[in-house]
């Protein structure tokens, strides 16, 4: 046994890398494979593979819609483009997941800062598409808000974890101020969907950071009030919500989406045999879930829902055993970001939620957004990396729960 004193980091000292563990690329890969959440990786790859099939199904619809007299897009134009983007996305995913937790945090915060800067520039430099100014054209057109997604959760988690160093820091105020700032920038575009999503991530992180129940209740109240205010102040949202509540007019996009969704029945019409999808605008992005419904059937739709549920359940169950506050917050924030967006999209397709203009992450066609989702998942994998040979020093949830129950009782008696 080694009898020398173990290394204890102290202020001003740097870790001296040990000569004995000189890492080779191969060894690093081995360690990566051991530490990474392989179930999550498998679920994500499965969903992306299914996404490729779904885009193949939806591609003819969009390709035909966008073809002009001069340019005829081949039916599978978007499929091949999607495969290309997915390849880049997977490379990004694997690359990001190879980072150490600290480096992942640094990258996340940097990305957040960069994306926020771009987001500030959008009102000045942005190009307008479909009545909303969301894109910046730097050789390649991209939405800064897409890249803010992976960074935002990490940045908020990082800021919230400052409190462990200095309990007096007003981390909640900083985080909420940041959220407000991002919200204002997004509403300038205007982009209600993204605002809602970022708000959801912020809410989850604030919830996890230990804010009292009363304040959470107050926050929910403010959220409802804010949503009502949006309804009255924001035309696009009002129109969409009116259309949602009033059932819409025949052949608007919501109605078309539902017709497409149900056209295949339980088992679907079969790949490339759907016909309703051809009338659907945005078949390959916002309404790809409906195309899945037509060509693969409602049962597969339910399976997709379960896949997303499996992803978030897997991540959250693992996080429930986490002892690093930053990792816990960042992991929960990132997974909320991905699955939250997926559920908003699915609920829109099922007409349980007003139309939002949001893609189905990991499945929908997208260029920069596929890369951004890849980056999000990569960072999530990096942050949830865990040495399987280390035993947890924190007690299991089972030992906490009764204590918590007692706490609740005490509060109740007061």
């Amino acid at each position: 046994m080694n009898t020398s004193q173990p290394y204890i980091p102290r202020a001003g000292e740097r870790i001296v890398s040990s000569e004995r563990f000189q890492s080779s690329k191969r060894a690093e890969l081995k360690i990566w494979w051991r530490e990474i959440d392989r179930v999550l990786l498998f679920l994500v790859i499965l969903l992306m593979a299914f996404g490729a099939a779904a885009v193949a199904a939806a591609s003819p619809a969009t390709a035909r819609r966008l073809s002009t007299i001069d340019v005829t897009l081949p039916d599978l134009y978007f499929y091949w483009a999607h495969l290309k983007w997915q390849f880049i996305g997977i490379v990004t995913l694997i690359g990001a997941s190879m980072l150490s937790r600290d480096n992942a945090r640094r990258l996340g915060v940097l990305v957040a800062a960069g994306a926020l800067f771009m987001l500030i520039l959008v009102p000045v430099l942005g190009s307008e598409v479909n009545g909303a100014k969301r894109w910046i054209n730097l050789g390649m057109r991209f939405q800064p808000s897409e890249f803010l997604k992976p960074g935002f959760a990490i940045a908020l988690a990082w800021i919230l974890s400052w409190r462990l160093r200095d309990p007096n820091l007003p981390v909640l105020a900083i985080v909420s101020g940041l959220m407000g700032f991002v919200g204002v920038l997004l509403m300038l575009q205007p982009n209600l969907g993204a605002t809602l999503l970022f708000g959801g991530v912020w809410f989850v992180l604030v919830l996890l950071s230990g804010v009292s129940i009363q304040r959470i209740g107050a926050l929910i109240g403010i959220g409802v009030a804010g949503f009502t205010a949006t309804y009255f102040l924001y035309d696009n949202a009002r129109n969409r919500i009116d259309a949602f509540l009033g059932g819409g007019t025949a052949f608007d996009q919501v109605d078309l989406a539902q017709r497409t969704l149900l056209a295949g029945g339980w088992t679907g019409s079969g790949l490339w045999l759907g016909v309703r999808k051809l009338n659907l605008p945005e078949a390959h992005t916002d309404y790809i879930f409906s195309v899945i419904g037509e060509e693969f059937g409602l049962i597969v739709c339910a399976l997709v829902v379960f896949l997303y549920l499996a992803i978030i359940a897997r991540v959250l169950v693992r996080l429930a055993d986490e002892e690093n506050l930053f990792a816990l917050l960042a992991g929960a924030g990132l997974v909320t970001q991905i699955v939250g967006q997926a559920f908003i999209n699915i609920l829109v397709n099922l007409q349980l939620f007003p139309s939002k203009g949001m893609t189905l992450p990991l499945v929908s066609y997208g260029g920069s957004s596929t890369i951004a989702v890849g980056l999000t998942v990569g960072l999530l994998l990096a942050i949830t990396r865990r040495n399987p040979f280390l035993t947890r020093e924190t007690p299991g949830l089972r030992t906490i729960l009764p204590a918590k129950g007692a706490l609740v009782q005490k509060v109740g008696r007061k």
Binding site: P167, V305, L397
Partner: protein, 571 residues
């Protein structure tokens, strides 16, 4: 071990932060479960919704892409495929004051200017009323049924508030022709009155509405019938007219008209008044047209065997009631003379000899005691004398009084009388060859062939001369019945009917023409009786419809009358 010891000494210096860390982690770990529960709820809502949508009938309702291409309501055609009712994609002129975003100032130009421009396109539009509507700023229709070129002109006005939504409308390309057969479609899209009502489910069924429904009507015969009836009605200042052309072997209605008619393209208060169908809904005492039916029943029962036998033609007295003829015909009349000169007295005696039981049974066999058999919703119930007929009632029924039926009843009975004796229900559906209903036998074939001779003789020698279109071998019987009014029959208000069949050597069609309260005019030689108004209508109609229905005029053919002809004028 000392490792742990070192660790504890290290953290004891910052115990506050450590507890905070532990507490934060514990809370966060617990609340992670909350988040998981929230997401599980959302996911189950989504799955439940998928299940709900999957079992709802939306799936079936929305699958058929062909729905959009099919007419919203199936077409109706005549028996040859000529469209009688079709879906017509029209425009409407809708005023949408919100189109410019500001409902308080909906128009670019002034309301009056726009109204003037609209009036130039739609001359029927009132400028003042339209300007008021435009200025009021309430959304609404300004005009229904806008033609494409008119729509273009409206677009050229350049007012966004004038919208031209496409609306599918029901259009009857033949105008008011066959209105009572077709009916119309109301604002809610429900068929009314005629076959539109009868076939409502069939015409709106997504699986079937792509196929037009063929009616039994022949558009050419229908047009001719309406034309001749209208002419006859106007010439005699009659209140109304009714007519029907019936195929004797299948029961198919080739034409059916009730005048005055309505225009299914434009339903207004006046049109609603005329929706009453005189052929199937109104019951009349049809008078002398019943006499051949009585004679046929008597021949069939064997009470009339000898056509040379003469019956006493003096007035019949039953109690205090006296049956007379309209004028003196002769002291004694045989059966042929009875029909040719339409004698009430001898018919009453023939009916008396036949007896009420047998005559009543013959009438029941011909369906005179129930509503007529046809698809149309409006069917009148006959005024039926009931169970036990006294002697007088038996006699009056014999010449068509004391019983009121629709003209359709009469046409059906005549068809059975001339087609060999088989009664068949009338239908407005086109019947495929060989698919005619079997029907029920009411007369012997020999009776039927005897009746053809007698009916032909009426048209050749008797009151039906005006209906004898050359070459068409018409046979038929007139009927001029006084309409019952307050305190008995009114001698001046008549119902004139002519019930005919042609060609009598091989009858194909029955034609019934009826005028309601014709007046004596120059056109009818100041006569009110059927011989002068209803019979000429049939005489002019048959040459028009015969050729289109497959009966060619042929003067070299006729039914053999040689055995009965010597009986005429023997006295």
């Amino acid at each position: 071990m000392n490792t742990i010891a070192v660790n504890t000494t290290f953290s004891s210096g910052r115990s506050g932060v450590s507890t905070l860390r532990k507490r934060s982690i514990t809370i966060a770990r617990l609340r992670v479960l909350w988040v998981a529960i929230i997401f599980a709820c959302v996911a189950s809502a989504a799955v439940a919704r998928i299940g709900y949508l999957g079992v709802s009938d939306n799936t079936i309702r929305t699958t058929s892409l062909a729905d959009a291409l099919l007419p919203p309501r199936g077409e109706l055609t005549d028996r040859n495929g000529v469209p009688l009712a079709r879906a017509f994609p029209a425009y409407a002129l809708w005023y949408n004051p919100k189109a410019l975003g500001d409902p308080s100032d909906p128009l670019v130009k002034s309301a009056r200017d726009v109204a003037v421009e609209l009036q130039a396109i739609f001359p029927a539009l009132d400028i003042e009323v339209t300007a008021e509507k435009l200025a009021a700023g309430r959304p609404g229709y300004l005009q229904r049924r806008v033609l494409p070129e008119q729509a273009n002109q409206v677009m050229a006005i350049g007012e966004l508030a004038l919208e031209l939504p496409r609306e599918t409308d029901r259009h009857y390309p033949q105008g008011s022709m066959g209105a009572h057969v077709l009916g119309y479609v109301d604002a809610e899209g429900q068929g009314k009155v005629g076959m539109e009502q009868v076939l409502n489910d069939r015409l709106t069924d997504p699986a079937l509405r792509g196929e037009p429904v063929a009616l039994s009507i022949d558009m050419r015969a229908q047009g001719a019938l309406e034309d001749e009836l209208r002419r006859g009605m106007l010439a005699t200042n009659a209140k109304g007219a009714a007519g029907i052309v019936l195929d004797v072997d299948t029961g198919e209605v080739m034409a059916l008209a009730s005048l005055p008619e309505f225009d299914p393209n434009k339903i207004d208060a006046e049109g609603v008044n005329y929706m009453f169908n005189r052929v199937t809904n109104q019951v009349y005492e049809l008078g002398s047209t019943f006499k051949p039916l009585t004679v046929a029943a008597a021949i069939d029962a064997g009470t009339v065997r000898d056509f040379g036998r003469r019956y006493d033609a003096s007035p019949v007295e039953v109690g205090r009631f006296k049956i007379k003829d309209s004028h003196f015909i002769g002291n004694h009349l045989n059966v042929a003379e009875t029909l040719i000169h339409s004698s009430n007295t001898t018919t009453a005696r023939i009916a008396d000899e036949l007896g009420p039981t047998k005559l009543r049974q013959a009438m029941i066999d011909m369906g005179m005691n129930e509503r007529p058999y046809i698809e149309l919703p409006a069917k009148g119930h006959p005024i039926w004398p009931g169970e036990k007929w006294p002697r007088l009632r038996n006699m009056t029924v014999g010449y068509g009084h004391g019983i009121a039926v629709t003209p359709l009843h009469l046409a059906n009975a005549y068809a059975a009388m001339v087609n060999g004796g088989v009664w068949r229900p009338a239908t407005l559906h086109k019947i495929q060859p060989g698919a005619a209903p079997k029907g029920r036998r009411v007369f012997k074939a020999s009776t039927s062939s005897r009746m053809r001779q007698l009916l032909r003789m009426i048209a050749v020698y008797g009151t039906g001369k005006n209906a004898d279109a050359p070459g068409f071998r018409v046979g038929g019987k007139t009927g001029s019945a006084e309409k019952p009014g307050k305190g008995g029959y009114r001698q001046t208000t008549l119902v004139s009917t002519f019930a005919a069949a042609f060609p009598m050597d091989k009858p194909r069609y029955v034609v019934v023409a009826m005028l309601d309260e014709p007046k004596g005019t120059t056109a009818s030689s100041y006569q009110r009786t059927a011989a002068w108004n209803a019979a000429p209508i049939v005489g002019k109609l048959i040459p028009r419809i015969g050729p289109v229905l497959g009966v060619r005029p042929d003067t070299s053919r006729d039914i053999d009358l040689s055995d009965l002809k010597p009986l005429l004028g023997a006295e």
